[in-house]
C-alpha cells in the first residue's frame, strides 16, 4: 500500500442553475490574458449539448485518454511514444481554435466616434485572432439552455451513444426533452493522459495534493497534452506557445481557501476535500477490462481514512497529520465512498478522474410534477426513475460508461432523501421503509441531507493548508516589507539607500524587527520558535 493524498471535487448537479458565475470568476482570475481569449478552465455546458470544444467526447475523432491494447495493458489512445515523436512536427489530432470558438471583441470606437446622424452606430464584432470583422457563429456555450437543440441536438456524441442502446429516441421537442447543466474543470486525474503524453516532461502531478500542473519553463509547446486529455481541459496559449490548464487554484488551496469556482458558486454545489488513495492500485484499476467496471474499480482505489491501518500507512508515507484528519472529515470522501451518490465523469477514458458529480434528479422530478403527480412521493419517484429511461440512460453514458445501475442507485438515494426530509418538515414520523429501500439509515439520510441541502461553508470545503511551515511564512508576510510612509512624495520616500536597506537616513519603525543574527538563528534552528520567543525579538 502506497498512500497518497488528493484534493478532489464533487459537484451536486441538482443545484446547478447554469448561471456561469464559476466560469466568469475563473476567467477573471486565470485566463483574462492575451493568447487565452478562447480558454475557459471552467465552463458550464448544457446537456444534451455538444460541449466545449464542440463534440470533445467523440474520442474516435480526438483520440484522448487511454485504451487497452491486445494484451490488455493500458496505452494512450493516440498511440505510443514512438508515434508521438514521429508526429512531433505537427499534431494531426489537435483541435483548432474554431473547434472551441473564435474569440471576438467589438469595435466600440464606432459608438463614440460616429458623427451625428439619423442612424444608430453599430459596434461591429472583430476577431481577436485575425483582427478582422467577423460573423459570430459559435461560442463556448452557444447551445446554452438547449438553444438550437432541435437542429444540433443530434450532434451530442452521448445522444448518439444513447440511441444505439435505447430503442426510444432522445427527443428534442420542447415538451418532451430534458436538460441539466454540467460544470467542468480539469479532472486532476489519478492516471492523467495529458501528463503521459507530454514529451518534455513539463506536466506533472503534485505528490502532496495530486494537482496536475504545467511547468511553464519546461513546456516546449509540442501540444500533445491537448490531444491526450479526453476532457480537452489542457489549452494552448497561442501567444506564449505554452500549454495552460486549470490549476485547481493551488495558491488558494495551499492556504486553506477553496478554488475560485467553488468560492463563488451561487448554488453552493461544489465540495472540496481530501481523498486518500492507494497509488499502487491505480494502474491495475485503470486496466480493468470492462468499461462498466471502471467506476467500481476506482472506488476500490480509494482508502478509508477511518481505518487505523490506512492512517498508519499514510503517516508512514509522510502525509501530514492535519491532512489525514481532513481526509476523515472530507465531504468528498463521504459523497463518493460512504453515500456513493457521486459518480465520475466518463470513467471509460481510463484516466481515473477526480472531479465527481451527483447526477441530477430534477429532470425526473420535473417530468413527474408536470404529469400532475406528487414529485416528492417515493413510490412515484422510484417508478419515474425507471420509466424515464432516456434521462437515465443518457446520464449513464456520461457518468458510468453506460451502466444504468449506479446512476439509478444514486438517484434513488436522492429521491429517498426528498421523501424522508419532507416527512420531517411536515412534522410526520419518517417512514423507515423509505431509508431501508435504498439501504441507508434515517440518520445517514439526515447527515447526507445536511451535507447536500444545508451545505454549510465549512462542511463543503475541508481543505488542509499546504504545510505548517507555510502558514508561518504567511504570518510573517503580514509584516510590511517597507515603511508605510514610504510612498511617492511621502515623508518616508526614498527607498533603499545606495548601500542597502539599513544605510542612510533611518526610517520608521526604529525597533529592529529582524536582524542578521535572529534571521540566521531562525533559519538554522531545528525547531520552530515558540510564540513567546518570537515576541521577544520585537
Amino acid at each position: 500500500m502506497r498512500v497518497m493524498a488528493q484534493i478532489a471535487m464533487v459537484m451536486n448537479l441538482d443545484k446547478c442553475i447554469g448561471c456561469h458565475t464559476c466560469s466568469v470568476t475563473c476567467k477573471q482570475a486565470w485566463t483574462n490574458r492575451d493568447g487565452m481569449e478562447y480558454v475557459w478552465f471552467n465552463n458550464v455546458e448544457t446537456r444534451p449539448g455538444q460541449g466545449y470544444p464542440r463534440r470533445y467526447e467523440d474520442q474516435e475523432k480526438w483520440r484522448g485518454g487511454w485504451e487497452l491494447n491486445k494484451k490488455g495493458a493500458l496505452k494512450l489512445k493516440n498511440g505510443g511514444r514512438i508515434k508521438a515523436l514521429l508526429e512531433i512536427f505537427s499534431n494531426p489530432k489537435l483541435p483548432e481554435i474554431k473547434d472551441y470558438y473564435e474569440p471576438w471583441t467589438y469595435e466600440y470606437k464606432n459608438l463614440t466616434d460616429a458623427p451625428l446622424g439619423d442612424d444608430y452606430p453599430v459596434a461591429e464584432p472583430r476577431s481577436l485572432i485575425s483582427g478582422k470583422p467577423m460573423k459570430i457563429e459559435w461560442s463556448s456555450n452557444w447551445d446554452d439552455n438547449l438553444g438550437g437543440a432541435t437542429e444540433h441536438g443530434d450532434l451530442d456524441p452521448m445522444v448518439a451513444k444513447t440511441r444505439e442502446k435505447a430503442a426510444e429516441k432522445v427527443k428534442f421537442a420542447f415538451e418532451q426533452t430534458f436538460m441539466f447543466y454540467l460544470p467542468r474543470i480539469c479532472e486532476h486525474c489519478l492516471n492523467p493522459a495529458c501528463v503521459a503524453s507530454c514529451p518534455s516532461g513539463a506536466m506533472y502531478k503534485r505528490e502532496e495534493d495530486g494537482i496536475v500542473l504545467v511547468d511553464q519553463d519546461s513546456c516546449r509547446g509540442w501540444r500533445k497534452c491537448v490531444t491526450g486529455c479526453p476532457y480537452k481541459k489542457v489549452y494552448f496559449n497561442h501567444r506564449t506557445g505554452k500549454a495552460e490548464k486549470c490549476t485547481m487554484c493551488y495558491p488558494r488551496l495551499e492556504v486553506g481557501l477553496p478554488t475560485v469556482c467553488s468560492e463563488t458558486c451561487v448554488g453552493r454545489l461544489r465540495y472540496l476535500g481530501v481523498i486518500l488513495y492507494d497509488a499502487d492500485k491505480v494502474t491495475e484499476a485503470a486496466s480493468v477490462k470492462d468499461d462498466k467496471a471502471l467506476y467500481e474499480a476506482q472506488l476500490g482505489v480509494f482508502l478509508d481514512p477511518e481505518d487505523p491501518e490506512v492512517r498508519r500507512e499514510a503517516e508512514r508515507a509522510g502525509i501530514e497529520y492535519d491532512w489525514i484528519e481532513a481526509a476523515r472529515r472530507s465531504p468528498v470522501h463521504a459523497l463518493i465512498s460512504t453515500y456513493k451518490v457521486a459518480l465520475p465523469l466518463h470513467p471509460e477514458y481510463r484516466t481515473m478522474p477526480m472531479v465527481w458529480y451527483i447526477p441530477p434528479l430534477s429532470p425526473v422530478v420535473d417530468a413527474l410534477s408536470e404529469t400532475g403527480h406528487d414529485g416528492e412521493d417515493l413510490d412515484n419517484l422510484f417508478g419515474a426513475i425507471d420509466t424515464l429511461r432516456i434521462p437515465l440512460e443518457y446520464l449513464a453514458e456520461i457518468f458510468t460508461a453506460g451502466d444504468v445501475g449506479p446512476v439509478r442507485a444514486s438517484l434513488e438515494k436522492l429521491a429517498a432523501m426528498r421523501a424522508h426530509m419532507r416527512a420531517i418538515n411536515l412534522g410526520d414520523r419518517p417512514d423507515s421503509s423509505v431509508a431501508d429501500a435504498v439501504g441507508m439509515s434515517g440518520r445517514e439520510i439526515e447527515e447526507m441531507h445536511r451535507l447536500l441541502a444545508v451545505a454549510k461553508y465549512e462542511d463543503r470545503y475541508v481543505i488542509p493548508t499546504a504545510a505548517v511551515g507555510d502558514a508561518q511564512r504567511l504570518e510573517e508576510s503580514a509584516l510590511p516589507d517597507s515603511c508605510s510612509l514610504d510612498f511617492e512624495g511621502g515623508p518616508g520616500a526614498g527607498g533603499d539607500g545606495p548601500f542597502g536597506q539599513d544605510s542612510g537616513r533611518k526610517q520608521l519603525p526604529l525597533v529592529t524587527v529582524e536582524n542578521f543574527h535572529t534571521l540566521r538563528d531562525r533559519q538554522t534552528a531545528d525547531e520552530q520558535p515558540s510564540a513567546a520567543e518570537k515576541d521577544n525579538t520585537l
Partner: protein
Amino acid sequence: MRTLLWGVIPYVVLVLLAAGLAWRYRYDKFGWTTRSSQVYESKLLNIASPMFHYGILFVLVGHLVGLFVPESWTEKAGVSEHTYHLFSLYGGTAAGVLLVLGIALLLYRRRTNAPVFRATTANDKLMYLVLFAAIVLGMVAKLTHASGEGYNYRESMAPWARSLFTLQPDTDRMAGVPVMYQIHAVVGMALFALIPFTRLVHMFSAPVQYLFRPYVVYRSRDPRRVGARPERRGWEKTGS
C-alpha cells in the same frame, strides 16, 4: 578578408551559439518554445511542417557526412568519388526538394493566413529570411555545379570545416571554392548565429527523454516556495 570570413567569423558564430544558448537557458526558459501556430490553421501545416522538418533533418545528416567524414574514409570503404557525388547529388536534391517545397508552403501559409501572419514577429521574419536564403542558396550552389563530376567540396570546404575544431583554421582551403558555395556557407553561419535568439532554439529541445521516462510524472512542491527548508548536508540528527 579570407582570414576574417573563414578564420574569425566561424569562431564568433560558435561563441554566439554557445553563449546565446546558455544565456537563453538561463534567462528565457519561458520563451523557449516552438510557438506553434497550429491552433490557427491545421490542414496545411499537417502537410507542410513534417515535409520541412524531415527534409531539414535529412539535409542536416547530409551536411554532417559531407563535412565531417573525410574523403579518405569513404575511399577506404570502397566508395569512389563519383559514386559519392551521385549519391550526394540525388539524395541531397531529393531532400532539398522536400525541404524547399515544405518551407515554401509554410511561408505561403504564414503570409496568407491572417491569424498566422498576425502572430509573426519581426524576429520571425528575419529568421525566415536567413533560413530561406540558406536553403535556396544551398540548392543553387549544388545544382549549378552538378554537371560531370560536380564540385568536390570534400577537398576544400570539408577539411576547412574540420580544421576549425582543431583550432587551426586552414583558411587557404577556401581559396578556390566557387562563389555560390562561399555565399551559402556565410549565410549558413549567420543562421547558426541566429539560432539562440530566434524560435529556431526549439531544435535543442528534441524530447528524446520521452522514450525512457515513466508515463506519469510526479513532482514535489518546490521546497523553496514553502516554509520548510530542505535538509542540509551534515551529520545525522540525533534522537531520531
